[in-house]
């Protein structure tokens, strides 16, 4: 049997994970987010390049240094810079903030990979069917637009014997390309409008065709995700998984509430990965 998760289940999954990462900034949660994010990365067949790691480290480093330069909160003063205190706590805060950003970005990449265009459409659903149609046309038009722009650039370079040299020539060339794109877009729009008319657009009230139905598996997963999310949030509100930075860095991670919270978040991140059938379906869709 083919097992797939409903688009809304996927959507809610990403929203929950990213919301927790961004609201409860706790090192252990970030590590869990990093681990599961990388696992998805691997499952989706993406390669981890050195450039990715460098980019992440750069972001982390930049934020870690930038925060103490602008904020002097914290009790442990490391040294003074231009009369301002450079504190260990501000450095830790910058590091934590950088780590949250890096992991959130990682999850956004995975979101964009797993939330295929038709999934976005299903999230929009019956209620927003006009938005859905506009969305699907944008999804179609955008790659076409970039492809055409590339073609126009090639065509113009082939005509002029190479890419323009100098700022003025580049400006002129870009202006020409833009004009060319404008005419092309208009022309494209007219023909597409005719093609839509020819296929009965505007004849009746549109229906929304959704290929997905809620299967038991999808509902089960959605309930499990929701339960895990509620657990994490409730525990956090009741004081679990606390990471105080100012005035002293104090990270709580050994209380019962903390450990249950970590486990719940770990489950939340990993639930859609547990079923081999779900993963197989994802791979099949991508092949």
């Amino acid at each position: 049997m083919r097992v797939y998760l409903h688009s809304r289940t996927w959507f809610v999954y990403f929203i929950m994970v990213i919301a927790i990462l961004m609201s409860i900034r706790h090192p252990v949660l970030i590590l869990i987010g990093l681990e599961s994010g990388l696992l998805w990365w691997k499952i989706l067949g993406r390669k981890l390049r050195i450039a990715h790691i460098f980019a992440a480290l750069f972001l982390l480093g930049a934020l870690a240094v930038a925060n103490p330069l602008t904020s002097s909160n914290g009790a442990t003063i490391l040294f003074y810079l231009n009369g301002r205190a450079f504190t260990a706590e501000a450095l830790a805060y910058g590091l934590l903030f950088g780590a949250v950003l890096v992991v959130t970005l990682l999850w956004c990449v995975i979101l964009s990979e797993l939330m295929t265009t038709d999934r976005w459409l299903n999230v929009c659903g019956r209620r927003f069917r006009k938005t859905g149609l506009v969305l699907t046309m944008v999804f179609r038009f955008f790659p076409l637009f970039t492809k055409q722009w590339h073609r126009i650039r090639e065509g113009q370079e082939a005509l002029e014997g190479g890419s323009p040299v100098g700022l003025k020539a580049t400006f002129r060339m870009t202006k020409r390309e833009l004009l060319c794109m404008l005419t092309w877009s208009l022309e494209h729009g007219f023909v597409t409008a005719d093609a839509m008319l020819a296929r009965g657009y505007g004849a009746a009230k549109r229906t929304f065709f959704n290929r997905e139905t809620y299967k038991a598996a999808s509902i089960g997963v959605a309930i499990a995700l929701l339960a895990a999310f509620t657990a994490v949030i409730t525990l956090a509100i009741r004081g679990g998984m606390e990471a105080e930075i100012y005035p002293y860095v104090r990270i709580h991670m050994d209380g019962v509430m903390d450990i249950i919270g970590f486990a719940a978040f770990f489950l939340l991140c990993h639930i859609p990965m547990i079923s081999g059938k779900v993963l197989r379906e994802e791979r099949r869709m991508r092949s």
Partner: protein, 537 residues
Amino acid sequence: MIQIENLNFTYSGAARPSLSDISLHIAPGQFVLLCGPTGCGKSTLLRMMKPELTPAGERSGRILYNGNEIAANDRLVEVGFVMQNPEQQVVTDRVWHELAFGLENLGVPSDVIRRRCAEIAAYFDLEKSFEKDTNALSGGEKQQLVVASTMIMGCKVLLLDEPTSQLDPIAANRFFLWLEQLRREFGITIVMAEHHLEEIFGEADRVVYMDNGRIRAQGTPAQVAWEMLTAQDTFAAALPTVTRLFFDANTHRDPFVSLREAKGSTEYAQLVEAAKKRLSAASGGAVASRETTAKREESAAVTLSNVYYAYDDRSPSVLNNLSFSIPAGACTAIVGGNGSGKSTLLKVVAGLAPLKKHAGKVKFSGENRADRQRISFLMQDVTTLFTEETVYEEIVAGVKAKVDNGGEGFVENFLKEHGFEALTAHFPQHPYDLSGGEQQMLGLTKLLLRDPQILLLDEPTKGMDAVAKDQLAALIAKKTKEDVTVVLVTHDLDFAALCADYAAMLFRGEILSKERADRFFADNVFYTTHKNRALNA
């Protein structure tokens, strides 16, 4: 099924009518072919039969569908309409959604859409690409998808407006075969406007030949061919090779409309002999000129050695250890299947696809060396060159100094010299309003005004009718005489045979053979011209 009575139509604001006195009867299940030169009114006539797309203008006469008169703003879902460019007709981003689009418009419930999509995908063999992005399909596949998503709405008549003009000949033939199957299995009525008649002419039940907004002849293919040939119409050049080759005005026999028919005839052997005699008498001069170019084989304008090319690290290489020299002052045709690397080869020569250090060399000889200004490349989509509002501005753009120095009437003379004087009449029009063939002419004019020493042409005959093709062939001959090196990449083997001095076959990124064009096409059994196919008994 469709009855047209005394139809006249004038576009609003136009001085002359686009359709005059058209009367036509289309029976259910018929395949009707509308043919005629560019601008003869065939597209307008098709749009008259699909009320949603009927243009604004003044109309008189009647159009009846199943006995009911149709007015300009009616809706006729049973009549499907397919246009030229598949790229622009695909509305959504997924194959399944494209199929569902029409049914969604009609307000069909989701369950029914689900079943019909499955049904049509299974029939049209779209199961594998069902989830695919529509951008990932080839031109031919996209056009099939457009037809499938029209058929899903339960249409009984299919109107097709030059559906293959954006496809290469191989994809075009596949599309025609597929359409024929559709007609056989569903008895659907097909009305197709087309100017590329080679494969399709003999298949039609009825041919309607239009010129200047009027029907000049209609009847069976053989009848219409007879009328066109005896009247020595210029458009007769578009008729299938076999029809023209074996036609003899003295015998009052119906012309052959397909190769199968000709080969089945008892007189076939005599006909071949007669045709060969006529051809050799006519081409005495051409053979001599081929001999002279062959002597210059030694000098190469461009030499490619051990070239490898891949678009990025992950994709396989398109050109594989390719070594090839392009003879100077001659026309070299490069032929080969889809994806064999033909367009990439041109891009490498033009410098648009820069080679990495270890990936081979491209060397220009003599005065062409490193002189990128003098290579001109006409890409497949010629509209990428158009940036101006009118045809005249488009021609002058970028070469203003040259035009000003040339004095009065420079552009007109230049066009006349190159056989493009037809463009003069279109000076105030927008470049997008020209026909496919005229757009190619405009693009070529832009390139030629820059005095190229090397002219690279990628599928230049796409969308051209037979008359325009002949003009282009004459232009290539003229340019090679002026010592311009021409490289022609094409699927159109008849055209390649007509104007190339050399022909090379590209297969899986390698040049397999380069020979003189006449020998090349005479030796090939499958990859050869229609003429050779007809004459090889």
